[in-house]
Structures are given as structure tokens and as C-alpha cells.
């Protein structure tokens, strides 16, 4: 006999990864993009990449499909703000899928799991962008601080995204349990 589904998960608005989660998630991305474009996101001379942190967090809680779609939106926000082709869109789509593929291997109930994944994502994104622009000197001077800034906001952002993804606290999402 199949297990009975808790009532909360049947409501399309509050179930895991429901419409509400996606709408709020995309709204969060736009707000993050605006904050990132202001001096509010500059800490100690480096700019925190909030939209990347959101994309990786979302991929980790939603899987490769959700990670891909959210990564694309995150990249579009970054590209529209930077005004630079579709480079971030492509990169974030890839990083979203990678984060999603890591979901079954990681315990998403432990917030610290976002840190190694974000470290990897930040490195991949920065190396790709810097290789494209040829700003190696700047990268060499900035990268430890840039990644440190991202890691600093990673856990709180991940907790917000995780709560957004499963608002009723019904942790039916994949991954190993703690």
C-alpha cells in the first residue's frame, strides 16, 4: 500500500518546488541583481555574487532540471545587468545542472554542503569570465576575497532557498538524510 501523502504537499502553492516557490525565487533573483548592482554588495572592495549563490543553492535543492531553469534565469539577470552577450546565461545553466546533479550525493539538510559546491562554482565561473576578458592580473589579486565574500553569504542564502523550496517544512526532497 502506497504511503499517504501529507496534505501540505498536495497544495500546489505550498508543496515542494511549487508555483509560489518559483515565483518568489525569480523575484529574489531580480532583487539580488539590483542589490548586486549597487554599492550595498561591495564588501572590502569585492562584489558579492548573490545571483550565483542563489543559482547554486536552487540547483542543490531542486535537482538538475530546476537547477538548469533557475540557472538560466540567474544568468539572464546577470547578462542583462552587465550588458555582455549570453556568457553568464550559459555558465549559470551549466552550474545549475552541476549543482542539481550533486543533490543525491549530498545531505541537503546540512547547510554547510553549499560551501564546497559554491567554491567550485565560483572558481569555474570566474575562470571562464576572466579567460574571456583576459583580466588575469585582476583575478589573481581578487579571487580569494571574492570567493570568501560569496562563501560568507552562502549558508544564509541556502537556508532561505531551502525554506522557499519546501515552505511547509516537509522535507521530501532528495538527498541523504542527516
Amino acid at each position: 500500500m502506497a504511503a499517504r501523502i501529507p496534505p501540505a504537499t498536495r497544495d500546489p502553492l505550498v508543496r515542494e518546488g511549487g508555483v509560489w516557490a518559483w515565483m518568489t525565487g525569480i523575484g529574489l533573483l531580480v532583487v539580488a541583481g539590483i542589490i548586486q548592482s549597487s554599492d550595498l554588495a561591495v564588501w572590502g572592495g569585492v562584489r558579492v555574487d548573490l545571483t550565483l549563490v542563489l543559482a547554486v543553492s536552487w540547483g542543490l535543492v531542486s535537482g538538475p532540471r530546476g537547477g538548469f531553469a533557475y540557472g538560466v534565469v540567474s544568468g539572464l539577470v546577470a547578462d542583462l545587468l552587465v550588458g555582455q552577450s549570453i556568457m553568464y546565461t550559459l555558465l549559470r545553466a551549466l552550474l545549475g545542472v552541476v549543482a542539481g546533479l550533486a543533490r543525491p550525493m549530498l545531505n541537503v539538510h546540512q547547510p554547510m554542503v553549499i560551501l564546497p559546491l559554491l567554491l567550485l562554482a565560483s572558481m569555474i565561473q570566474d575562470l571562464a569570465v576572466v579567460a574571456w576578458l583576459g583580466s588575469w592580473t585582476r583575478w589573481a589579486a581578487l579571487w580569494p576575497w571574492r570567493i570568501a565574500a560569496d562563501l560568507l553569504v552562502a549558508v544564509p542564502v541556502f537556508l532561505v532557498v531551502r525554506r522557499l523550496w519546501a515552505p511547509a517544512g516537509n522535507w521530501a526532497m532528495g538527498g541523504r538524510r542527516g
Binding site: S38, D49, T51, L76, G83, S85, L133, R138
Partner: protein
Amino acid sequence: MFSFLRRLPWLEVLLVAGLMLGAGLTSWAGGRSTLLPEAFKPLLAGATSVAGGVRGGAGFVRDLEVLRTENASLSVENVRLRSELARLADVEHELERLRRLLSLEGQMQGVGRAARVIGRSPDNWHARVYLDRGARDGVALDAIVMASGGVVGRIMAVGPGTSEVSLVTDPGNQVGCLDQRSRSAAILVGTGEQVLELRYMQQQVDFRMGDLLLTSGYGGVYPKGLPLGRVARVIRQPNAIVPQVQVVPEVALDEVEEVLVLDPLAGPL
């Protein structure tokens, strides 16, 4: 190994690919606009304003706004006066060398308009800012942007009420320049850092520390004679044909708040 590919929602993928293609085509076709900054202009200006308030550590005082407006108009006046001063110094230099005077008035189409910086590039690698003036205010693509002291950059995207400026330090940004003292010519290239580099120069160039570099006007985008920066370092490698020259912009680009947008040139000079 690639089983996740079967689970991808292909309809969504196609939709997204269409969006990406549209964004790419828009950018490629030169119809560059400031879609997101335009849509969220008040939010962007608000966030920047809040950031300014936090940085200054001061609370909001009503009189501050009056002072800001006054300061903005004085800054713009200062920009005009400084660029005029630099222009006159250049003209004087040319007279000393018995060269024909080339008036900047002929190169600049009108004066320009003041604008306020409301945001910056959201990543650490590009050097771009958003302005609160757009096509409605007469800002055009490739218009030159100045601040107190010298050139800030040029307009690379225009929306109805906002525009995006590629700063002279933006990676890949190139400006033809002349040494005010020696008249040596080179191309000033943005590296993404606060220090610019001179490239594409001849073997016998003469650049010295402290020399002021001005726009050469050769490309037809920048008018001639606008101050760009000063030579900060000249490195002569034993095996190199030309020296490595580093330049510091005349304007503190990280701190610029009010700028002057000049009218674009009508054509090549």
C-alpha cells in the same frame, strides 16, 4: 551516464534557448538597451542611495538633499571648467610648438547634460556604470562621458530613461591617446583594473612618469584633447621593443557620482 538528459524538459529548454538567442541577437545587432536597469530604475537608484548613506555613516537629513543638488550642479560646473582648462592648456602647448590651433569647439557638438550614477556592473570583472539619463534626455550611443578631471568612458547601451557606460578601465575598452608633452601616440587599453595600459605604440615613443595623456581624436568617437590619465609607471624590459607604460585615470572611477554626457561626434574628425 547521461540519463539526466532524458529527464530534461525539452519544451522549457527550447523556450529558454529562444530567450537566450533573442538576448544574444539584441546585443549583437547593436540595438543595445538597458532592459533590467530601466525596469527597476527606482529600486536601483534607491539601493545605490542607501549604499551611499551607509558608506557615509550619516543619517538622512532633509537639508542634505538640497546640498546634494547644489553639489551636483557645482560638480558639473567643475567638470566643464576643468575640461575647458585642460583644453586651453593643450591649445597653448600646440601654439608653443607652432602648430595650427584646432579648436575643441568644432569637435564638440554642444555642451552635454549632467547625469547621476545609479548603479554599477554586478560582477567584479567589468567596469561599467548605469546613469539616470537615457534616450529621452538626449543621451545617444557612443556619447562620451566625463567627470571632474577627465574622461570616464562612453555610452554603450541606451534605454529610454537610463544608459550604461563602459568605463575607460573596462576590459577591452580602447582609446586613442597623445602625450600632451611629447605628442607620442598610443592606444590606452582598459584592463579591468584601476591602472590602464598603453599599447600599439611606435619604437621611438617618449612617455615619462607624470605625463598627461589626452584623447587623440583619431577614432572619431572621442573628441581631441580630453584628459584621460597620467603616466604612472614606465617599465623598460631589456628584450622588449617598446616600454610597458601604465596609466592612472584622471578620474577616481570608483567614486564618481555625477557625470557630464557629451553629445556624440557627428563623424570622423
